[in-house]
Assembly symmetry: D2
Homo-oligomer: 348 residues x 4
C-alpha cells in the first residue's frame, strides 16, 4: 500500500455490510489506497485488521475526516448519518463518496449538493448499477436507436431476507431502478403511484410496487420485496423495434435482445379486426465486459477527483432519487394516489 503521488488516499467510515466491498475495491485499484477504516463495532474493526493488517482503524468518524493522510472520505454508514457526516467531510475540504440513498430527505440532499458545489468538491453518490456493463450496454442500444421508442420498463428485485431497519424496500432496492432509469431516459418521471406494505408492525415497508409515469407515455414499473421465496433481479424493456431482457443473476448472457415486437396498422379496412400483430425474430446476447461495477465506479471517482469533474452519479442525481423516494412513500401512504415528482425536468 505504498501509494504513489497520484494515488488517492481513502478513509472509509462504516465497515458493515457494504463497507468491505468498498475497502476491497479501493485497496485493489491502482488509483486508490485505503488509509483508514472507522466503525463503531470492535468486532468489525477486528475483521478489517485481519484482512488488511497494515491499515489504521478507529471508532471515531471524526478522526477519519480530519486525518491529514486522508484525501477523500467514503461513507458507508446508516442513511440517517449521511447528511451530518457528509457535511463534515465537505467542510474539511475533502471529496466525498456517499453510499445510496444520499440522505434521508430531499432537503438534506439539496443542501449537501449545494455545499459540494460551493466548495468545488466532488460529491459522488454510489448508485453502482449505472456502472455495470449490462446497464451501459442497454444505454448504447437505446442511444443507437435500435430499440426504437421505449414502451415500458419493468423491473423485479425480490428475494428473501436482508430486512433493513433504517430504510424501506424502496430506498433499499427501488433506488437501483431509479438510478438506471435516470441514466437511460432523456426525461424525468412526472408522477408515481405506489402500493406497499410492512407486514411486521413498527418496521419499514418490506414489499412495494411502483408505477412511474413519463410525459412521453413510457411507463415504468418496479416490484421490490424482501419477502420472496425466490431471488429475482430482472428488468424487461420493450421498444417499438426490439425488446430486452436483463437478468442480473445469470452468470453469462445477462442481456438478451429480441428482434421482436409489434406491428400496428391504421389501415381503415383492418380497423374492425385485430389492429395489432406481433412478430418474433432472432435473439442476440451481446458479450459483456466482466469488470466488477464497483471497480469501474472507484476508478471513475478517482478520475473525477483528479480532474475535479462531476461524476456520472453526482449529487444532483442523488437529489433526484431522494425526491423520487419521497414521492413514492407519499403515494404508498395514500394507497396508490398519483403523486407528482419533485421538479420534473426534461434534460437538454
Amino acid at each position: 500500500m505504498n501509494a504513489g503521488s497520484n494515488t488517492l488516499r481513502v478513509g472509509v467510515i462504516g465497515y458493515g455490510y457494504w463497507g468491505p466491498n468498498l475497502v476491497r475495491n479501493f485497496a485493489e485499484s491502482e488509483n486508490t489506497a485505503i488509509t483508514m477504516i472507522a466503525d463503531l463495532s470492535a468486532a468489525r474493526l477486528a475483521l478489517a485488521e485481519r484482512r488488511f493488517p497494515g491499515v489504521r482503524t478507529t471508532h471515531s468518524a471524526t478522526e477519519v475526516v480530519t486525518d491529514s493522510r486522508v484525501d477523500v472520505v467514503a461513507i458507508a454508514t446508516p442513511v440517517d448519518t449521511h447528511f451530518e457526516l457528509g457535511m463534515q467531510v465537505l467542510r474539511a475540504g475533502k471529496h466525498l463518496w456517499l453510499e445510496k440513498p444520499m440522505t434521508e430527505t430531499a432537503d438534506q440532499a439539496r443542501i449537501l449538493a449545494d455545499e459540494a458545489e460551493r466548495r468545488g468538491l466532488v460529491c459522488y453518490v454510489d448508485h453502482t448499477f449505472v456502472y455495470t456493463s449490462a446497464v451501459r450496454k442497454i444505454g448504447d442500444i437505446m442511444r443507437s436507436g435500435d430499440l426504437g421508442k421505449l414502451y415500458y420498463y419493468d423491473s423485479t428485485r425480490i428475494n428473501l431476507g436482508l430486512f433493513q431497519h433504517d430504510v424501506n424496500v424502496i430506498a433499499d432496492l427501488g433506488v437501483h431502478d431509479f438510478a438506471i432509469l435516470d441514466y437511460l431516459m432523456q426525461e424525468q418521471p412526472e408522477a408515481v403511484s405506489a402500493s406497499g406494505v410492512n407486514h411486521f408492525p413498527g418496521t419499514p415497508e418490506n414489499l412495494a410496487h411502483l408505477t412511474l409515469y413519463y410525459g412521453s407515455g413510457m411507463l415504468a414499473h418496479i416490484n421490490v420485496s424482501w419477502l420472496s421465496p425466490v431471488k429475482v433481479r430482472q428488468v424487461l424493456l420493450s421498444g417499438s423495434k426490439q425488446m430486452i431482457v436483463y437478468d442480473d443473476l445469470l452468470p453469462s448472457e445477462k442481456l438478451k435482445v429480441y428482434d421482436s415486437g409489434v406491428n400496428f396498422t391504421e389501415d381503415p379496412v383492418e380497423v374492425q379486426r385485430l389492429r395489432v400483430s406481433y412478430r418474433t425474430g432472432d435473439m442476440w446476447a451481446p458479450r459483456l465486459d466482466e469488470t466488477e461495477a464497483l471497480r469501474v465506479a472507484v476508478d471513475h471517482f478517482a478520475d473525477c477527483v483528479r480532474t475535479t469533474t462531476s461524476p456520472l452519479t453526482d449529487a444532483q442525481l442523488g437529489v433526484r432519487i431522494v425526491e423520487l423516494i419521497e414521492a413514492s412513500n407519499q403515494s404508498m401512504r395514500e394507497r396508490g394516489r398519483c403523486v407528482p415528482v419533485g421538479r420534473p425536468v426534461v434534460r437538454t
Copy 2:
C-alpha cells in the same frame, strides 16, 4: 358419438381461439357429446368438419339454442355477445356454459345470474384456472394451515402477442388471478389500484399492474402484458410459515413449497436493531395430477347439470369478477387512484 341417456348433448357457439378446446374436451369426455357447432366463419366450420366429420355445423347461433337435440349450450364468442346469447339460452330453458369474462358490464352479469337462478338453470362461467391441479393443491395447503397467514399474492402473466381487440389485458389475463384469488381467499378485496397503458391508439390497454387491497392486510399484485419479450406465468404466495412459487410453464414441478419465512421479534431489547430475521429451509414440490383442467371443468359441469347444483365457478363468481374488472379499469383511468370494489363481502 353415440351418447348414452346420461350423456349431455352440447351445442357450442364460437369455434375461434378457445372453441376448439371446448369441443375437443366435450367430445372426449364420457359425460358429454358434441351435437352442434356454430360459427360465423365458413373457414372455421370447415376446420371443425374436418376434425369432427359427424358433427352438425351452422352459421346460426339461434339454431343451436333452439335445437331439441341440444341439452346445454356453451358460448365461446366475443364478450360483447355474451349477455344476449346467454339470455337466449336461459330463456330456452337450457343450461349455460359461458367463457370468461362473463359479460361486458357488471349490470349485465347480475341480470344473467338472476335469470339463471330464477329458472333453476346452471350457469357456469369458465374460469378454468380454478380447476387446475396446481391451484387446487395451493388451496389444500392454505386450508391445512401449513402456509400460515397469507402475506401477499404476486402474479405475473406476460407474453408477446395475442392482442385482443374486444377486451383489454385485464379482462383477458387478469381475470385468471381474480378467479384464483376468489377461490383461495376467504375474503373479497376492498379496493384496487391499477396502472396501465395502451401503446397503440384506439386499442385496449395491453399492459397493466393491479394492486388489490384486502381487509386482512393481504396485498395482491397482478402484472399482465401482451407486450413482453418473454412468456411468464408465475405466482408467488408468501405466508407466515411457508412460501409457494407456482410456475405454470414448467412441464413438471409447477409448484414449489418453501419451508422458509420470516421471524419477527417484539423483544424490546432487539427493537433498536434488526427486528426481522429470515430462515431458509427445505423445498418441496408436490406431485400434481396431470388431467387437463378443462376436462375436469367439463366433468364438473356435467355433474352440476345432472344434479342441478351450483358449480364452483358459478354466475355469482362471474359477477364478482366483472365488478373487479370495472373497478380496475376505473382506477387505471385515474392513474392508480384507489377504487372500492363492488360490494365487498366476507364469505361466511
Copy 3:
C-alpha cells in the same frame, strides 16, 4: 376427407404410441388422407373411431395392405414385425412408410431396401428429427462454414419411463442421433465404443453411452437413458469457429449459437506455456420455423411418392442406422471394445 385426385390415400398399421401422431398428420395435411387404420387392440380402434368417425378400421394388417383404396401404407407396429409387413407392402406394389428403426437386423434392412429399389417404390424410414427446423438450421450453419471444423457432437436424451420391451434404449433414443449425424456429417463413423446396462433382468438395456469415432477426428458421444429423474434433450456441437447448443425441450430459442471458441498457438515461444486460449463472444438464437416436423415429413413423403424420388430418410439411411445399432450392441456386450461400423463410406 374427400381426397382430391392428387391426394395420397394412406393406410396406417398400428395405432399405439406413435400411430395417432401419424394419423393426425396424414389427416390434417392437404396432400394425404387417412383411408384405413389397423390395430390388434379393440380399445385402440375404438379410440381411433371416436377421433376420426369416418375412417375404416380393422384388426387385419393384410386387409390394409391389399385394399385397393389404399395407395401407401404406413407401419407403426413393434420393430419385430417391420420386415415382414414391409415386404408385404412392397410386394403389393405400394409405397412404404416405416417407423424407426427400420428392422431388427441389418440383413433384413438391406433386403427391404433392395426390394423397394427393384420395384421402383418409395421406402421412407421415419427418422423424424431430420425434418425438424432446428436440425435443418444446424445443417445450414455447418454448410455455410460458419461453424468451422466440427470438433465434437455430444447428445443427451434421458428421461424417466417409457421402457420399451422390444428394443433397447439405443434403438429407441440413440437412433435419433444416428439419423441427425447421418444428415449433418459428410462422413460415416468408422467405429463405435459403447457401454450400457439393463438394470432389470430379462429387459433390454435401459441406459447407454456411445462414442462414435470418425476418420476426420470428430468424436460423437450419445447418452441415452430411460432411468433419469429429469428429462433432457440436448445436443452440443463444437466447431473451430462457433459452438451450438440445441435444447429441444425449450419452447423457444431451441438453438443457441455462440461466437466462442478456442485459439491455438504453435508459436514456439508459447510452447512451454498454455498453448490454447479461449474466447467468448456474442450468442445468437435464430428464429425457427414452428411447423411440426412430422407434418414436414408427411408432405415430403407425399412429394417423393408423386415424383418417385428418394426421400431424405430413405431405405439406405435406414440400413446404415440399423448397422450402427448392431455395432453398438456388439460393443456394449464387450464392455466398450471398439467395434468397426458396417461399411464405412465417405459420401461423394
Copy 4:
C-alpha cells in the same frame, strides 16, 4: 495473524490459480495462520503481498519447507512437482497438504503414501468436493437407505476454457468424480472404458467420456470437457427408491431428491408385456449448509494434524485416484478397451 499456541502455521508453495483460495482459507480459519508463501513469479508474489501485507514471501520452495516457523506445508504447484516437493516436506518431518491429483504416476503416489505412514505424518490430498455439503448430504441419503440400491452415477463437468498444459481433462475435472465416488461407494470400480480426444496437437486431451464398471452392476459415467459452449456441473444418481439431481451451479437447491423410480414385475402374466413401469412422486430439495467446502477441509486438516489421525481424503485415496487416472488414460489410448483398475478392493 497472532497465531495462538494451537494455531497451525502454514507455508504455501504455489500462488497461481488455486493457491490464493488456499491462502485465503488458511488465513481466515481460526485454526490456521499463513506464515509464508512461495511462488516462482514475482508478479504473483507482489499480488500476495498486496493482499496479505504481513506475510513473508519467497521464490524458494525449499525455504518454506525448512523454515522453523512453518508447521505444515501446502503444495499448489503443477502436478509434475508434487512428488519431489511432497517428499521434501515429509523428510523435513512436516505434515503435508497436496493439491489434486496427488502425483503424476501411481508409483510416485504409493511411495509418498508409504513415506508419510512410515513417519507418522498427515498427508492430506485436496479432493475438496468430498467436503461440500451437497456431497455429504448425498452420502447421508445413501447411508440411510432411502435411495435404495444405486443403479448409476452420471456426471457432466464441462465448460469453455481453462485448458491445462500439464494434465489432461480427466486429471483436472474427472478426479472430482473419482473422489466423490470413492466417498459414496462401498466398493471400488473393477474396470474403466474411456474415450477422449485432444483437438489441438501436442496438448493433453481436452474432452473425455469415462464409464466405470462396478462389481455390483452399478455403472458410473463421467463426461468432462474444456471445450463446451455452456458450463455444466451436474450429477445424476438413480437408485431403486429415489433419484437425485445435484446441480453444483445453482445458487440454491443444488440437490433435488425425487421420490420417483421404476417398478419391476416378474409376474409371469406380465412377462409378455411391459415389465417395467415408472412412478413419479414428490420432489424434495434439502437445505444445505453454506460453509465453503475448502474451509471445512482446512479445519478438518488442522484437526487431523492436531490428533495425528488420517484425513477423509488421505494418501490412500490419493493413490486410488491416480490409479484410476492411469487406467482411464490407458483405455482412452485404446479407444475404449475395458481396462482393469489398479487393485480393486471392497472396503470393510
